[in-house]
Symmetry: D3
Subunit: 131 residues, 6 copies
């Protein structure tokens, strides 16, 4: 069970409800996932985290789908079960196909492999990469 419990919309304070409403509007959805319900026990963290995620994930120099896939890549690399589940769903909603998912995971896997080969072999950074 979530450490501080989950706060449902009906039980939420006005400030929490305001964040929930903004999440649903921004994401064009009618429900709130457990992550936000768990953070809601700390309304300050709830608001700050949501405002940050909203700003960071908005389309800009990178498309929304690319950002969702990067989020999923990092979550898979960190092996965060909740985040993999929720961001797989988010990336699919943003249009990720099965083929894109598979290629994404292939890149994540290779990066994790070569990251350790580079460190394990104590490879020095090339001069050309320093400038």
């Amino acid at each position: 069970m979530a450490t501080l419990g989950l706060i449902e919309y009906a039980d939420a304070s006005p400030e929490v409800k305001a964040v929930y409403d903004d999440i649903m509007t921004t994401r064009s959805t009618d429900w709130i996932n457990n992550f936000w319900k768990a953070l809601a026990s700390d309304p300050v963290t709830l608001r700050r985290t949501w405002e940050s995620v909203k700003q960071v994930m908005a389309p800009g120099a990178l498309e929304a789908l690319t950002k969702e896939m990067v989020y999923l890549a990092v979550s898979a690399s960190n092996q965060c079960g909740y985040c993999i589940a929720s961001h797989t769903a988010a990336a699919r909603k943003a249009g990720m196909t099965g083929a894109q998912f598979a290629e994404l995971m292939a890149v994540v896997g290779m990066a994790n492999e070569t990251n350790r080969l580079a460190s394990g072999y104590q490879v020095e950074i090339d001069e050309r990469f320093r400038t």
Copy 2:
């Protein structure tokens, strides 16, 4: 210094030279970075790793630039100094702008933050994410 040393092109065996040549041709470049020179002490690992990277990083369902940025995102998340330096260079060569880099890092940062909030709060995976 790299654990098993770096093997320069001039000193390489024919099988290592063949990999070096393929790297330079595939990447349209005229030099080999230290990562491959370090792996070259083990030609079997050199060839397997290069063939895997070549296959995984080729454009497919995802564009080459997207793949390079995902590689950099994972390397930054894992804090691999060599890999951050080399894949920042690779992503730039593939067209990554400063604005794209900055947004990429913002996503990586947020994912690492919320990964720990999800785990730390012991958030249960929503039923909707399980199906």
Copy 3:
């Protein structure tokens, strides 16, 4: 199931019982959690680990509650499910309030975010921090 099984008090050898007794006395509790029952298949590791934890977690220059919260912070950062559950319980027993937990997680989250921003941007260590 735990790899080598769980050893209950009634089934424990005298040397394992001695450690179990010391755990219960030191922690003013009447039960042993699964972590120790799993380690008990290797009495040498059981004793060494318990003696180390007992020494490290005793109040000293840092208060017991602070130490429990740091333990929880590291476990959340590492995303170890068992450790988050057990150390959340331990920190609460030591007096951690819901508000303290929430602030702790906020710090853990920010640290994980800025750790990756610092690495990803390849920020050089300031001279003032080196001395």
Copy 4:
């Protein structure tokens, strides 16, 4: 060198200068460390990150020193060289003694050890920890 370079105060735009000024005022210091100068290439991330850090690190249910030590504990656990250096300095400025630092590291070390023992032995979470 930092990927997008470092922006010195004299060369900063008004919006970046405003953040720099707030950092110096909040921290009662007269200089800006490289982390912020690196982020300054992306003023939106600079402001968001600084506002978040300022909010999270302010004394609340936890004291400022405890928060600085938790930040350092997470950075050491993640092995982020820059962050360890900068947050060691910050914790010392907040009053951390050598003895406190040593106990902090001892806790970080033990947590990292037992996190892997719990996972490696596949220890199931005790019922008492689930409620």
Copy 5:
């Protein structure tokens, strides 16, 4: 549920069946574990990953059992639940005893502890280790 589902032998395409057959022959077993059934949605990644694992895990300068234990050690260190379960089974099949498992985990635990002490104390690499 696995993101792209699990592909059973009876439902597999000829190219996937060929990999499944090779796995069963190489491992002298009559079943395929879920990891491969999940990868089978991407036959290219399935084949590449299997060929790599087959090559890397074959006895060479290191014995098969040693390699299995190293694989388990890394998986425990990374806290990958699936991998710990599957590689514990694989290591046992290769002959790992309970005593060997316990010593392996003790080494993994200590390495994770001292890794953080080395980083946290900002220990400089000795000249003798650089040459």
Copy 6:
């Protein structure tokens, strides 16, 4: 520079000297590496850590060389620069050949890759691995 400085043998207290002497005797060497000199500022942690390492790394159900290679594998996976350098030296002293090092790193790399594929694809643990 190490956070609390390095304590040389000539400047050490009797209790620190006793640990230094035991390290040199146990390892058949005439010098102390920086890791221990850094920990020496906290004699309690110095002694506890050394006693633990001595116990864990002694030959038992696993040979000394195997243990050194596992230590190096974990350090490479964690990307701890100091630990990779020091444990590469230790493993070589224990007899690790270049070919063994290369195979070790190949296993570490593959484990890190498949750990993320297993997590990223959300692969469920097979029933056979649970018993």
